[in-house]
Amino acid sequence: MAANALEFRTCPITGKKVYATTQNLIWINAVTSVVFLLVGGLAALLVLLTRWPAVHLLSADLFYRILTLHPIAALVAWIIFFEVAGLYFGCSVLLNSRIAAPKVAWLAYFLMLIGAAIVAVQILIGNADVMFTSYIPLQASPLYYLGVILFAVGALTACGIFFGTLAIAKAEKTYEGSLPLVTFGLSAAAIIAVFTLASGAIIYIPTFLWSIGIIKNIDPAMYRLIFWAFGHSSQQINVTAMVSVWYLLAVLTVGAKPVNEKICRSAFVLYILFINMASEHHLLTDPTLSPAHKIANTSYFIYMAALASMIHALAIPMTVEVAQRKKGYTKGAFEWLTKAPWGEPGFPALILSLLIFGFIGGITGIVNGTEQLSIKSHNTWAMTGHFHGTVVGGTTLAFMGLTYYVIPLIFRRELIGKKLATLQPYIYGIGLIIFTLSMIASGTLGVPRRHWDITFADSIIPFSFDPTAILFVTLTALGGLLAIIGGAIFVGVAVLSVFFGRKMAPSEAKLL
């Protein structure tokens, strides 16, 4: 924190200037993110062991409480703290620039930390059993909404630091020509973040005023509409940041170079223009919007964004293939793939993240986003399976893969437990494949999300699911447990390495 704003070292591998102020900010945000991942992962374990009918661990009230905490810690805090670290890396390290207003960046960090802590405490003491969505007229304590607002203001400030640093780098000519692709992608993520956080302010500030009695009425249908402009758009930030991280991992693992910068960059622009419009797909089975409105937003616009994802889906494997072929792996159609660095954590993390995101998260997203098919999947576990494919199998796994490079390159610590680190993406990825596919299968059989007891033991009107559905729920639990083991290995390796890993000498050049 006290570091001189102009003190920097040069990275022996990439030749980039790493400013001490930036390094400290990346360190604190990344370490905090992993702490929240641990909290989110523990919550995931408790939720999982309760939804598994054979175990049914928690009581109903505790279950709904922990189910509210899980996405706050794992979806909001882990991912956004990590993204803030990523933004600072993209604007400062990649552009060889000092970071704008480091003190304000620290303020942003503390706002986010205090906000997230308030929200987590309010949930744990039972003042906010409202689920992540906090649909009105369900009401949490005013402090809960205040915590969310503080967190959002902090995140918005961090985006401001990012844009400020881009301006400084340009003015001080720390780079020549266009932005690097990764920074370009992160800029797209930051632009989407501004829209998202503005929507969050539009809905959370009145909701806060409603919770303290200043506003008497908020229309629940309107709340749902604007909430999702925040709630789903924040997932679009994750998608955009994750795609940028994919390009970055392709560089770090095989030294890949984008095949066509124009195509990649245009795809990011499509994200900026269209991806947020698609957030209205949450309202496909609501009686609020007209069919024409739904078709325009969730069909036309969503497919423009899907097109962008299709472009990245070609561009990333293509850059990897071209880089590998240049190294001489040209035998047959697939030597470039079989001779890829599968024994390094970054590469399997990249490939599994790409496959799970695309084939499980992405495809189900398009399917569920169709008006008529949404009737089949709305509020079932098919939806939950979809977004665990995107934000866990996709974003989280990519971020985990990147962490194994951040530790030696930015934090200058040698990894502890390299073998475990190499196995980790496989364990986590395979666990998630079983988890998400079984979850989607349960959902198509009608298993509801956010439900304490699918045996309906306490209902006045008896109802029971087909045994096949229970079988898939059990498989979901087993896959989830495997993923949680993978997650625990990640947290263990990351925390031990950051605090106890051997400090690397300034000139030491080593990726892993």
Partner: protein, 175 residues
């Protein structure tokens, strides 16, 4: 590399493979885009076409009147209602029941008005797995024709408080 500025002018035309892939993707997007409105014409199952606002208190009144008019009995304390053919049917979500239990006739079209008088609820018709968001203040109007007889259940799949998981309703369809 993606972490450095492009060395040269980068606004270059796409390769043949890239163009082919993007063309396929665009064609596929257009097919999907066409299907969504098309289902409104050729498909039998679509979300509500008539967005309508209704005050929860007003909805409570009409649904109570509906129950009183066509009630034929009670089961577990919940009224059983048999509406006449083609009638407007009111199905109310409230913490933590779907009211009333409905007795319908196979092959007859009913205009359903589903709404909530308190929190959000999730209408999930089992075992068909058809789901609709039920929002207080909004009337979810659906034209439903039962095409098979038997007992159907409605579970709630939107969190609505501590006993959410006990919320089950019933529709009996007779030949």
């Amino acid at each position: 590399m993606a972490i450095t500025s492009p060395e040269t002018y980068w606004w270059k035309p796409a390769d043949k493979e890239e163009r082919l892939w993007i063309t396929i993707a665009i064609v596929w997007c257009l097919i999907l885009f066409t299907m969504m409105p098309l289902w409104h014409i050729v498909g039998g199952q679509n979300p509500s076409l008539e967005p309508l606002k209704i005050r929860p208190t007003d909805y409570q009144k009409v649904s109570d009147a509906f129950i009183e008019k066509y009630k034929i009995g009670e089961e577990a304390g919940i009224p059983v209602v048999k509406p006449p053919d083609g009638a407007d049917v009111y199905l109310r979500g409230q913490m933590w029941n779907w009211i009333p239990i409905l007795e319908l006739k196979k092959g007859v079209n009913y205009k359903f008005h589903i709404s909530s008088v308190d929190l959000m609820h999730g209408f999930s018709l089992m075992p068909l797995v058809m789901n609709f968001q039920i929002v207080p203040g909004q009337d979810n109007i659906l034209n439903l024709t039962p095409t098979s007889s038997g007992t159907f259940h409605i579970i709630c799949n939107e969190f609505c408080g501590i006993n959410h998981h006990t919320m089950v309703g019933k529709i009996i369809v007779k030949d």
